[in-house]
Amino acid sequence: MNPGNLEHMPNGKVKVSLDVGLYSRDAILSTAYRFTHKCFINLLSYGVEIAHVEFSNKNDDKSDLTVLVNEFLNELIDQQLRFRINSETKDIQRAIVKEAFAPLENIPGSD
């Protein structure tokens, strides 16, 4: 299966393959968390090149998962961007927090 493809399984589940060169494990997990109220999500594997994620309906819901999975893929793009921004700015973020609370450093018991 090629990356990005949706594979409709006979049991109603939908399997998606993702290029791990584009999406980090954390971005996929973070996106999955945001959809846990809408469907069941199973991160099947995170390999050298491809990650496989499986979606299934909750309870007796028979609705088509295609729209939901496409929403997932859109959100994944934003999550990956968030991880890129965090990665580029995390040192400055730490410096800001350290500087903000620097006045506390000399208070006994503040470590």
Binding site: S30, Y33, R34, F35, T36, H37, K38, D78, Q79, L81, R82, I85, N86, E88, T89, K90, I92, Q93, A95, I96, V97, E99, A100, F101, A102, P103
Partner: protein, 493 residues
Amino acid sequence: MPNQENYKLLPFKFLRLKNKTIVTNMGGDFLLLPDDVFRRFVNYEIQQSERVYLDLKAKHFIYDESPHLPIQLLATQYRTKKSFLRNFTSLHMIVVTLRCNQKCRYCQVSSEHADAEQFDMTSQTAKKCVDLIFKTPSPYVKIEFQGGEPLLNFEVIKYIVEYAESVNRQYNKDLEFVICTNLVLITDDQLVYCKDHGINISTSIDGPPDVHNGNRLTEDGRGSYDKVLKGLEKARRILDFNKVAALMATTKASLGRFPEIVDHYILLGFHRIFFRSLNPYGRARKHQKILGYSTDDFLQSCCEGLEHIIKLNLAGTHFVEEYSCLLLTRMLTPFTTGYVDLQSPTGAGIGGVIYDYDGRIYVADEGRMLAKEGDTKFLMGHVDGQFEAIFGGATVRRTIEVSCVECLPQCIDCAFQMWCGADPVRNYAIQGDLVGHRPTNEFCRKNMGIVKYWLEKLDNADDALWDVIWSWVTAVPISTICSFGMKHSICEA
């Protein structure tokens, strides 16, 4: 990797809205960017000749030389936003009795019959409460008397007020008292005492008589509206008019009637209202089918009410919705606000704390309710204990550790992070664990909905609406406000 030669990014969060993308930073500043501008921004394609370049730089989303100065400035903003931590712990709620003269349908506390005096706080316990309260490092102390109906144990209220005033001669803290009362039983003598000691009154009025009486009943099952109004008139006559505030709680009967409820508050002479959703505890949970509603229903009513309030203000009536005012203050000024539910870390235990009639101390009233049902997870200790052991103990530490939105699932990436907070007690009570599950969290849904409402308003606001908003945030009459130019500071065309 995008070309970073033009500029470098400073830490920020983003969220896609209807037509724009909001970017927010650690100082609480924000910009509403058209989607294409956002795309070019994160791909380092904004040119120095563009106006938005200067806006992004001025608001500390990018830097093009050394990061030293923006780090210093953002650190100062961040420290200011977290300055509520200095008031550790300022709000001290004391349940002087569990007895109550009313049987409100949504009561979240477990009240007792009006003659069950064994549920009154004793003066010995009250003294220990005050001794503990004054050990707080906070320079500001607010003692709020709650119940039951606190007026049923007025002698202990008097004891606490006078003992606290006496102790405060040594500590010299900024000391404030509030009695939360349904006003039904209040007497002239009690009000004169309140006036002499500068005590404020907070009462409950849910709206017009039929709405109020459907929720708030006296022990004989009749609506309390007429009695409350008599108490209100008496209180205003003896105290200063503005010493009496009112709160409303939303039930199913209030939905679709927020404009009417606002008009009723104005009719009663109030200048403020707080659109409060029902807390799902105690009797409110028991009567969920009769009183309850969805968060979306609440948001719809809330927006209808806000639209009405905005129209009133534009027509010259100064009237404020307090929750919106709290959010707008956080969004549009460098300052923080003292609302416990919107703090990170949570205000439970370190912003506010509640002393039960028997001397047990809880991080929040909801924690006290859980204890009544046998779960003492939020019990901090007893007034017989030492301040350090109670306020620095395991319960407070455990509650605080899981209440920083900066590291909670989903909140960690949320663009509204600097304007929001965590409520581990509510998470635990409703969702079964202190962290909670954000995709199904109704507090999150409500807050996101109201913030999005205001962002859309700000994006489309004309100067007249900006004047209204600025008059709320600064508590200055609209006639003296001129906020021309505010729009251009946050919205890119």
